[in-house]
């Protein structure tokens, strides 16, 4: 395998030294061995051994992938992907108009971003989704669990209790109407206590805690394999104040976006983020645009913007790979978002 030295995941200073010393391919590194390597570049033997381990791992994973072993590779044909997508469910929102424009509900393995002004209903929708993901399969849900990462402190447990009670009542009505066995069995485990116990809540106070939490999330999700929803309520808040270096902010945000899409993909979960709005002052007028800049707009796969029109709340689907742009009205009631 002729892997170029410049493309190996080693520390940058080490990589620069290797290139300056004249090594070009990974094979040359492996041939030289740790003693020769430490002599040539002037690093300790332990560092040379570590570097060679990394190189060997890279070359071996290359070899296994070309030999056809799947492992953790994410290669497949579009036909296989289509079958996977059709078998996947959606997380319904109980607002049929919203489900329609999203194409069935919030999609798994994708990042959905909800932007809106204060008070328009973003946290309400997040709490609704955290309850809806737990609906048992016989009622059309995913029977999953939810992770809720809160950076603004806007998670109100009593509101979740209201939504969960309404959801359980709704399922009970369906069970009474249809009178099927599995419905009744599922209702035994689907109660207010079980819903609340399957929402895992994390509170992050600044961006460092948020980044750390997201980096630790894959381990958490491997232990709790039933999690199908990760909500980050308020991704803009920790990044909007106290940042002198804007290029560092862009870099951190983009790294975060890539981490989240890896989590969404590997664990078949939906990631929902909420964002704030900011004003862009144009030549003649000012417009409200989502915060965190232009490059953040590319991070989310699906973007929903909630806004007001006089006294009516509207939701616009702004970006989606499979649905058209459209706008629908919605209300917030005691039991749900409708």
């Amino acid at each position: 395998m002729q892997r170029d030295v410049g493309s190996l995941p080693l520390a940058p200073a080490l990589r620069a030294r290797l290139v300056a010393a004249g090594f070009q391919t990974a094979q040359e590194l492996l041939d030289t061995g740790p003693c020769g390597l430490s002599k040539e570049i002037g690093i300790s033997k332990e560092e040379a051994l570590e570097a060679l381990q990394v190189v060997r791992q890279e070359c071996h994973s290359d070899a296994t992938q070309t030999a056809g072993a799947p492992g953790t590779s994410r290669k497949c044909t579009a036909l296989e992907l289509l079958e996977q997508e059709q078998a996947q469910g959606f997380i319904i929102t109980f607002c049929s108009a919203l489900d329609n424009i999203l194409g069935g509900g919030v999609q798994l393995t994708k990042i959905t971003e909800i932007c809106g002004e204060p008070g328009v209903g973003k946290t309400q929708l997040c709490m609704q989704l955290a309850v809806d993901v737990q609906i048992p399969e016989c009622f059309g849900g995913l029977a999953g669990e939810a992770v809720f990462i809160d950076t603004e402190g806007s998670f109100m447990v009593d509101r979740v209790v209201d939504v969960a009670t309404a959801c359980v009542q709704h399922c009970q009505l369906i069970a009474e109407a249809h009178q099927e066995e599995d419905h009744l069995k599922a209702l035994e485990t689907f109660s207010l206590e079980s819903i609340l116990s399957h929402i895992y809540y994390f509170r992050c106070r600044d961006y460092i805690e948020l980044l750390a939490q997201v980096y630790l999330l894959p381990d958490f999700l491997s232990e709790h394999s039933k999690v199908r929803l990760v909500v980050i309520d308020g991704i803009a808040f920790p990044f909007r104040h106290d940042f002198e270096d804007l290029s560092l902010r862009t870099r951190l945000l983009n790294g975060l976006a890539q981490q989240l899409i890896i989590i969404a993909n590997d664990h078949k979960a939906a990631v929902v983020l909420t964002n704030q709005m900011t004003t862009r002052i144009g030549q003649s007028q000012s417009t409200l645009v989502p915060a965190l800049g232009e490059s953040w707009g590319h991070a989310a796969t699906v973007r929903l913007i909630f806004h007001w029109d006089n006294n009516q709340r509207l939701a616009t689907l702004y970006k989606s790979p499979s649905q058209k742009e459209s706008t629908i009205p919605y209300h917030i009631t005691v039991s749900a978002l409708l």
Binding site: R74, A78, Q258, G297, H298, A300
Partner: protein
């Protein structure tokens, strides 16, 4: 900058290498550019042996000048022009995607880059029966949307399923994974493994800025080095195996009111030979806006500024009824 090693070429023995290194000749470049009489005296080696080694090293490591006419003949026989399936986009690109070159689609979020890529994949796989490799780094590849586009173009279900099988999707969310995927592609093409890849002519990468952006900025230069490594891999793939490489890129602004410009900076701007900017048309009275304006920002063959209108509606990206290219701003 290859290091001098014992078995690099016949004539360069293991005893010569440490002697040469002691007098400061470490790489091939040092060897061929140094004065051999001096080196022979300092290292007490035979002048004839050194001249012989230099001749072999030059033959092995230098690039030979090529005749322009020969290059033209080679280009004519190896370059293919692949139609994208969207007639107005073909007009913009001077009749289609040229193999051996990197084409870039750039635009703001929601401007239709992924849709155009899916449309190209659909028409190449269905119309030209070519295998397509799609490297997805944003999670935006939706197979059901591709299926929708195929259904709009072909009636026969068998054909649609076959076309779906010809599109291979690899999800890479990290620059190292992307480099590894490109390396694997290079290995499998050079070994001519036809079983799974088939006649591959198009590689679509959506998007390249998503994997590079986490490395740039923050006063570190390793990001630039990896970006240029990626650029080199793409160009080598395109040139050596006559592939058409399509990448998508973001746009940024300098300040909150400045004009849109392509992301990844000036260094990346030299990598693609053709650049197309996608923008949303100003929303008119209709509620759903599926129209996009594609303008040519950089091209080796066409004048820049040409604009065409595309419709990224249900049937895939199509041209709007009679699309006449207008001279843009």
């Amino acid at each position: 900058m290859a290091l001098l090693r014992a078995a690099l070429c016949p004539g360069l023995t293991a005893q010569m290498v440490p002697l040469l290194r002691a007098s400061g000749v470490r790489t091939v470049v040092d060897f061929v550019s140094s004065d051999l009489e001096d080196v022979a005296q300092k290292c007490s080696l035979s002048y004839k042996a050194l001249v012989a080694v230099r001749r072999v090293l030059l033959a092995q490591f230098s690039a030979f000048p090529a005749n322009g006419a020969d290059l033209y003949e080679e280009l004519k026989s190896s370059t293919a022009i692949l139609s994208t399936g969207i007639p107005s986009l073909d007009k913009l690109l001077d009749s289609g995607l040229y193999t051996g070159e990197v084409t870039e689609l750039m635009g703001a979020p929601g401007s239709g880059k992924t849709q155009v890529c899916l449309s190209i994949a659909a028409s190449m796989s269905l119309g030209l029966k070519q295998h397509v490799l799609f490297l997805d780094s944003t999670g935006g590849f939706t197979a059901s949307r591709l299926y929708q586009m195929l259904q709009a173009q072909a009636e026969d279900e068998e054909e649609q399923l076959e076309a779906l099988q010809r599109v291979q999707v690899t999800r890479v969310f990290d620059v190292y994974e992307m480099l590894r995927a490109l390396q694997e592609l290079r290995d499998s093409l050079s070994q001519q493994v036809l079983s799974s890849t088939g006649p591959l002519k198009v590689v679509l990468i959506d998007s390249v800025s998503a994997v590079i952006y986490p490395l740039l900025g923050g006063k570190q230069s390793e990001g630039l080095a990896l970006m240029m490594q990626l650029a080199r891999e793409l160009k080598m793939l395109a040139r050596e195996f006559s592939l058409a490489v399509v990448v998508t890129n973001q746009v940024t602004r300098d300040s909150s009111a400045g004009p849109l410009k392509p992301a990844l900076g000036r260094s990346w701007s030299f990598v693609p030979s053709t650049r197309v900017l996608l923008q949303s048309k100003e929303a008119t009275s209709e509620k759903t806006n599926t129209r996009r304006i594609a303008s040519l920002a950089k091209s080796p063959r066409q004048p820049t500024g040409i604009q065409v209108v595309l419709d990224v509606g249900s049937g895939g990206a199509q041209e709007l009824s009679p699309a006449t290219p207008t001279q843009g701003l």
